[in-house]
């Protein structure tokens, strides 16, 4: 079973996100970068499938030079090899552009199963997985919390509002991960040492036969006009009182009479 995992490097969820001087991008200095948390689930699931069924796990990322750290992390977790698509012309791609690049890379490698995150916790696009599947002409199952492999087919337990739906698709297929799927392992020290020697291939858009005009900033369908900070809330109003009854009465009064919410 050949499994490919798409991984993206994103700012740590703890980090302060600052708007750059151009007003349409974020400041990249001073940011701590991590593997997208949903992609950790995808790497973990791929490793578990390989452990159960055999095969190989390849991790693929498109991004600047630093993205290699994330690929090394995936290798240290246990992936077998990595492909880094790095090209200045790919920078600033929107979700469709990114999907075009990733799909081109995937066409050049064997795969039975593609795993990726449901969304990157950077731009929160929730798009790249389904878009890659569409460009490859294969089925996809999104937001899965359980994966079952049958003969030539995959079953994904998809979380929807108010329940779970089990959907079956023929392989090859693409799955996107939802929290609850597994608990990703940490990279062990021996794993980190081994990762240094594992193959990591770097590819350009030309290597993939992707026309730079269709991706990157040039190919964007969605144009960022401005980034803003969310409007600040008014200062908190503390509700006090002598007894829990008094506090509760006052809270319910303001919510009823002033905020008119209950």
């Amino acid at each position: 079973m050949n499994i490919v995992v798409l991984v993206k490097q994103v700012p740590d969820t703890e980090s302060l996100v600052q708007i750059a001087a151009d007003g349409v991008s974020i400041r990249k200095d001073d940011v701590k970068w991590i593997m997208n948390p949903y992609d950790e689930l995808a790497v973990e699931e791929a490793l578990r499938i390989r452990e159960a069924k055999g095969g190989g796990v390849t991790v693929v990322s498109c991004g600047g030079p630093k993205a290699q750290e994330t690929l090394r992390t995936a290798l240290a977790m246990g992936a077998d090899k990595a492909v880094h698509i790095q090209d200045p012309a790919a920078e600033g791609a929107d979700a469709l552009g990114t999907a075009r690049i990733l799909a081109a890379a995937l066409k050049a490698m064997p795969f039975d199963l593609i795993l990726c995150g449901q969304r990157g916790v950077d731009e929160d696009n929730v798009q790249v997985g389904p878009a890659v599947a569409e460009r490859l002409g294969i089925p996809h199952l999104s937001f899965v919390i359980k994966v079952e492999l049958l003969d030539g087919r995959v079953r994904g337990h998809r979380v929807v509002e108010g329940g779970t739906v089990v959907v079956e698709a023929p392989l090859p297929a693409l799955l996107t991960t939802q929290r609850g799927l597994n608990d990703p392992r940490y990279a062990s020290l021996p794993g980190i040492m081994k990762a240094k020697k594992k193959p990591l291939e770097v590819k350009s858009l030309a290597d993939l036969g992707v026309d730079p005009a269709t991706v990157g900033a040039a190919g964007r369908k969605v144009v960022v006009r401005a980034l803003k900070l969310p409007p600040a809330r008014q200062a908190v109003r503390m509700i006090g009182g002598e007894t829990p009854e008094a506090v509760a009465a006052e809270l319910v009064r303001v919510l009823h009479e002033e905020a008119k919410l209950i």
Binding site: T13, A95, V223, R233
Partner: protein, 321 residues
């Protein structure tokens, strides 16, 4: 700009999800502002009652995509049906609800049409004749204003944000023939919660609990019952096994936009705020006066939830008589 607004509704087992009324109402407002028409799309198998119901929200036309293959949602079938029905000149804008299904369908359909998609928008404005979409990024730490210069344009809108407006209309219902063969996926099982619990992303009020509950959610459940609210949880409460993953609010859980969010024994970690900061009013109850949640709340109570919540529930019951 191309003509017409299209609002894609969502139903399950013959009942509309609330976001359907939101996209139809917003579609009507945008169509009026542009002086163009609104088409409401209804998808499923046996959708006549839904095609009739959606007329309450003012479409000029209803497009009923009615086919046995559309009985259960499968992205390939829904994408294909939508692509067939909306072939030809693209409309000015396609609106869809950013639910689990809507996000999935919007992403695949956008790739099929090579269309710009603004995911999970919280506002749509017309500025100088062009749509400007506001969408939170980085878990709500940043709001991006984006445009999509060329049609087809797709906006997936966050549930529970846009105003619902009834505008009864007499719209013609069109039922195009659909060719849906060879759909590769099959639904093999549905496990739905039939307890009638309110879905977090659709709830007007959410009472949410964290590690401070110590695993005892009973006082929260009682308050929620009195308020007609849904119960949410922080990741810590989920990790402890006290609540289900589906209840988790935050960056790696659900993003919710209720009118009232009551955070009980939740410290207010940045990843939790990512899921609830677009709530209209936030109330925090926490025994630590320095808990970060107070910096994001509108109303704060310093105290023990086990002492405060039962009294709040009593006061609410007294108010509602």
């Amino acid at each position: 700009m191309a003509e017409g607004i299209v609002a894609v509704t969502e139903q399950r087992d013959g009942t509309f999800r609330k976001v359907s009324y939101e996209v139809a109402s917003e579609g009507r407002r945008l169509a009026d502002a542009l002086g163009t028409t609104l088409t409401a799309v209804v998808m499923g198998s046996g959708v006549d009652p839904l095609a009739a119901e959606i007329q309450q929200y003012g479409p000029d036309r209803v497009l009923a995509l009615d086919h046995p293959e559309l009985a259960d949602y499968r992205v390939e079938a829904y994408t294909e049906a939508l692509a067939q029905a909306l072939a030809g000149d693209p409309p000015a804008l396609i609106l869809i609800g950013a639910t689990v299904q809507g996000k999935d369908l919007a992403a695949r359909f956008a790739a099929r049409r090579d269309a710009g998609l603004a995911m999970d928008c919280t506002a749509i404005e017309l500025r100088d004749g062009a749509f400007v979409f506001t969408r939170p990024m980085f878990g709500g730490k940043i709001l991006a204003e984006v445009t999509i210069p060329e049609a087809p344009r797709i906006a997936a809108v966050r549930p529970n944000v846009l105003r619902i407006e009834r505008r009864p209309a007499q719209a013609a219902v069109a039922k195009p023939a659909l060719a849906l063969q060879g759909i590769p996926t099959a639904v093999v099982e549905k496990r739905m919660d039939t307890s009638g619990r309110i879905e977090l992303t659709e709830a007007d009020i959410i009472v949410s609990g964290g590690r401070g509950t110590g695993g005892n959610f009973a006082p929260l459940e009682e308050l929620a019952a009195a308020l007609g609210a849904a119960v949410g949880a922080s990741r810590s409460a989920v990790d402890e096994g006290w609540r289900k993953h589906a209840d988790q609010v935050g960056q790696t859980g659900k993003v919710v936009s209720p009118t009232l969010y009551v955070a009980c024994g939740i410290s207010g970690a940045i990843q939790h705020l990512a899921g609830m900061s677009s709530s209209k009013v936030i109330v925090a109850i926490n025994k630590d006066p320095d808990a970060p949640i107070f910096a994001k709340a509108d109303y704060g109570v310093v105290g023990d939830i086990f002492q405060i919540l039962p009294k709040v529930t009593e006061a609410v019951k007294a108010l509602k008589g």
